[in-house]
Symmetry: C2
């Protein structure tokens, strides 16, 4: 079963305390689609300018990502530039050039409307809603968001929430959105706004998954060296959605969601090992399975006798 | 098998954004000994002044804590006063009166020197070393510490580390001690200083346990309301040590340590539900077992097929 991924496609310039690289493949849809492609076929919707390197298009194709929904507009591709502080936990956006992304309307091509698993990667909530207007057989809808939309499109985000099954956001965003310091209270408050499930990403501290009377706490893989955190959240969402799509039909259980969160965490942990999507380019199914087992080893403890 | 607990005994005044209480039973040894007492007999070493309420002594006795090592000195009991900020994560010490604690020397009474499981709860590292000088059959030595000793007794702490099996400290302290932002690097660096195992407590994010080629990531119990974080770390250490003492003889495995970390986390999660040791006064073995199972439910996910 395919997953539909809608989001941004960008050329990024990223500076860390040790390195700086320009014109990297980036954007929420790029990371999410490639992340999902390790598990299931992907239908991708996004926009690039006529300056977008063919090599990147070829890379998407090589991942068996359907690009019927990729719009190529006259003008320049969306560009983002950011800098990470010394601890790689905080970052500052240095510049944003929306370019062709400014007038992006995510119109689904024929055949995409029936996709049952939908990942609304990080874009404006109004665009995410516009995608849902076109979906005819929704089975599990996941939306990612960010602080920007909580600040400037709060009403749009709240209008979107009753229409999605799962919202993904990070700990700072969850606190900002709910005015709660406790993530446990924040998770419950967001669920009350609509989504049956909420995933709160905590970076080096892992991820919390909230359901109705169900809760999953997933640790983070113990990486000693992180090279570029860009796209970790998008890759997480992509891996999660891709795993769900690979499960076939029927109701999605909390047990499946737990596995999906672990797969998402595994993908994200690989992604931060190198700039852009470089680590995903060489990633193998064997490496994913091995790290999934490491997650299990690091999380397990004996039951009471 | 008994556990030896050495540390401070205090009368605390604690202010949170919502409440303030004075003259509460506190101190690292109080929390740790009571925490351990849910699992094993405890030998306790500490000092109180002649103003120390008999009711607190009676409470320790009711927990089957051996008080042969409790020194009663002329003067006032150690007093600490602290205030928690709005998010309950940061606290400021408002006042410290060492009183009889200033000249405390942890001398072990007859019979204590043979205790095999030793918890050096949070006191000056030189005093912790002094306890170890008296121990004749060390089997597993755990030391807890804090930022104060990293700042003012760094050499003493470093001298202690090769003599202990496990160091417990929190995330901020681990970063401060090692000058590493990555907790994974910090854990490895501390292990290189002596202890075979390092437990880094992360408050609401749980706990990381580092061993040689082994790693355990334990989540935190999803509490919506925390009333008083005071003593959470001491209770964690006490529960952990008490569980190990209850395991009987032989080499302590990483698998036993995982369970011990979970039991410590369970105890700590109860402790923060009320001021001082109030919640521990009513805590039952059934409640502990039930929450241990909750930890399992919140941590587990399916293996790969």
């Amino acid at each position: 079963m395919s997953v539909l991924v809608v989001g941004s496609i960008a050329l990024d310039t990223v500076k860390t305390p040790l390195e700086e690289h320009a014109d990297l493949l980036g954007g929420s849809a790029s990371y999410a689609a490639v992340g999902a492609s390790f598990f299931s076929p992907v239908n991708m919707v996004g926009v690039v300018g006529d300056d977008f390197p063919t090599a990147h298009v070829d890379y998407f194709r090589s991942r068996k990502i359907d690009l019927t929904g990729l719009q190529v507009a006259t003008g320049k591709t969306f560009r983002w530039s950011g800098e990470y502080m010394w601890d790689l936990n905080t970052r500052e956006t240095r510049s944003v050039e929306l370019n062709v992304f400014e007038h992006f309307t995510p119109t689904l091509p024929a055949g995409y409307a029936e996709t049952q698993i939908v990942l609304l990667a990080n874009i404006a909530p109004s665009l995410q809603s516009h995608v849902l207007d076109q979906i005819t057989q929704p089975r599990f809808i996941i939306a990612d968001t960010m602080d920007l939309w909580i600040n400037i499109a709060n009403d749009d985000l709240r209008a979107l929430l009753p229409r999605v099954d799962m919202l993904i956001l990070n700990d700072g965003e969850a606190r900002q959105f709910t005015s709660e310091t406790s993530l446990i209270k924040a998770g419950a408050k967001i669920r009350a706004l609509g989504p049956r499930f909420v995933a709160i990403k905590k970076g080096e501290h892992g991820c919390l998954l909230f359901g109705e009377n169900e809760f999953f706490s997933c640790g983070a893989y113990p990486l000693e060296d992180i090279h570029d955190p860009t796209g970790a959240g998008d890759t997480f969402a992509g891996g999660l959605a891709g795993h769900l799509a690979a499960q076939g039909g029927g109701e999605i259980s909390f047990s499946q969601l737990r596995k999906a969160v672990v797969f998402g965490s595994v993908l994200a942990s690989f992604n931060v090992e190198a700039f852009s999507l470089e680590r995903l380019r060489t990633l193998t199914a064997e490496e994913i399975a091995k790290r999934y087992k490491s997650f299990q080893l690091m999380s397990e403890f004996e039951a009471l006798g």
